[in-house]
């Protein structure tokens, strides 16, 4: 599946949608497929701070546990609470209903374009 061109990406297989000083963060289809069926997510609470490339959450499938790396410094302003009841949205719609957190960032790191990310995953 193609990675949406309007998003930016990290090497840790996250996507980032920047809108003003807020970034919405999720994991890519590639990451969701690699994890398998996602059954549980542990996301940082609104109000908690994030540090670039520090672990801030967990994504569990039946077979494995993936760690969520904060793609930037900032403060979590919203976590996708719908995922508590339906974590499978991450597999089904990773770039839409499967979004994870919104971060009010203090600094944006360098992010990858869709093409640069595709080169990493070999797609």
């Amino acid at each position: 599946m193609a990675n949406p061109e309007n998003l930016q990406y990290t090497k840790e297989h996250e996507w980032v949608l920047v809108d003003g000083d807020v970034a919405t963060v999720g994991i890519t289809q590639y990451a969701a497929d690699a994890l398998g069926e996602i059954v549980y997510v542990d996301l940082p609470k609104p109000g908690s701070s994030t540090s670039y490339m520090k672990i801030c959450g967990e994504i569990e499938s039946t077979k494995s546990v993936g760690e969520l790396y904060a793609p930037m410094d900032g403060e979590v302003i919203e976590a996708n609470s719908a995922l508590g009841a339906s974590p499978e949205a991450i597999n089904q719609d990773p770039y839409g209903a499967g979004w994870l957190i919104k971060i009010k960032y203090t600094q944006l790191p360098e992010l990858l374009t869709a093409a640069e990310y595709a080169a990493i995953t070999g797609e």
């Binding site: 398998g36 069926e37 967990e58 039946t62």
Partner: protein
């Protein structure tokens, strides 16, 4: 890496693959949860051709197997299957096996993929004592496919020339499947009714396709991910997790497979010794609260305890039950009865668990 004769089928079904015991095996085709639920509610089809098939024939085949395995093979009748083990001289488990009695002195022994050579070596060592027996590794001659779930019997029944109602649980029979001679066993590793079908390699692709076509929407191809969650719910051990060379059948709660009353056998002396001593650790079933599953190697504690009392060997958020389940080796001298409260260290957080009876899930029959 080894591939099964159905590998191209898996590729064309867009399976995700993993290395399992040196074999390139399908983990899932689509959603492993859908595959799991299909087996519980309808039916699933598994390629398990990585399993080892060893043929033991000769006038002393029964006597030989009684010497090398821990169960009483002489009690089997033709067409009967038996879950058993092969143990080392020091009572450790070399492998868990299913033995199928095909004829008076003709047995098919199914071993785990990763242990096939260890089993062969242990058997050959024993055969060298002068048993009139031949041991053949037939792994590459057979494709092995499992059809499991409440609708398995009806789907398979459309294609075979035998009355599956006559084939009892843990038995095997020759059958004709759409013109192909196969062996049909009513065995499985899912906790559901089902069959394992031994198919000559050259015919396996057409049979795999015919089974899927006959099953239609009632039958999903299933990968190893679903196989693992299904067997865990059914409380079935997996070699490398619940069973190992360093563990005995008694620690694994499988002392019942050891037949001390059958005369002398390879590992008897040491097995007798360990069976008469108190166990240090024992396999337990535990269930957790919430959704965070304790996985293999996570430590288990008594509530608030500082020192671990054991470790998880397999654990998952049970797709059928909706709560975390696990099997764990825990200290045997703590009187851990059903309902005993425990804690699991799930990546730094203590999660409440408690001892439950195995299996976690039992199919209605």
């Amino acid at each position: 890496m080894l591939t099964t004769p159905l590998n191209d089928e898996h590729v064309s079904l867009a399976a995700t693959f993993t290395d399992f015991g040196g074999w390139n095996m399908p983990v899932r085709y689509g959603s492993d949860l859908d595959e799991h639920h299909a087996v519980r509610n309808s039916a699933g089809l598994f390629d398990i051709s990585h399993m080892g098939e060893l043929r033991i024939v000769g006038e002393e085949a029964t006597k030989f197997l009684d010497k090398v395995l821990v169960s009483d093979i002489s009690k089997l009748s033709v067409g009967q299957a038996k879950y058993t083990m092969i143990c080392s001289q020091d009572a450790g488990i070399i492998d868990d096996l299913i033995v199928y009695k095909m004829d008076t002195e003709d047995y098919l022994v199914v071993a785990n993929a990763s242990n096939r050579h260890a089993v062969l070596v242990a058997m050959q060592d024993m055969a060298d004592y002068g048993f009139k027996v031949d041991i053949f590794d037939e792994t590459e001659d057979w494709a092995l496919v499992a059809i499991q779930g409440p609708k398995a019997k009806d789907i398979l029944g459309m294609l075979v020339d035998v009355d599956l109602g006559e084939l009892k649980y843990y038995s095997i029979a020759k059958a004709n499947l759409e013109g192909v001679p196969v062996l049909l066993a009513r065995t499985g590793y899912t906790g559901e009714d089902g069959f394992e079908i031994f198919i000559p390699v050259l015919e396996c692709v057409s049979i795999w396709r015919k089974l899927l076509a006959a099953g239609g929407t009632d039958l999903l191809p299933c990968g190893l991910a679903a196989r693992d969650t299904l067997r865990l719910e059914a409380g079935m051990p997996l070699y490398g997790h619940e069973l190992a060379r360093t563990l005995t059948p008694f620690e694994a709660n499988l002392g019942r497979v050891v037949a001390f009353d059958k005369g002398d056998f390879n590992s008897k002396t040491e097995l007798l010794k360990v069976s008469s001593q108190p166990l240090e650790i024992k396999l337990f079933g535990i269930k957790g609260e919430g959704k965070r599953a304790a996985r293999a190697d996570y430590e288990i504690f008594l509530p608030g305890g500082e020192n671990a009392i054991g470790k998880v060997t397999s654990g998952v958020l049970s797709p059928t039950l909706g709560y975390p389940i696990a099997m764990a080796y825990l200290k045997a001298d703590l009187d851990l009865g059903t309902g005993t409260k425990l804690e699991a260290d799930v990546r730094g957080t203590r999660v409440p668990y408690e001892v439950v009876k195995l299996p976690f899930y039992k199919a209605e029959r």
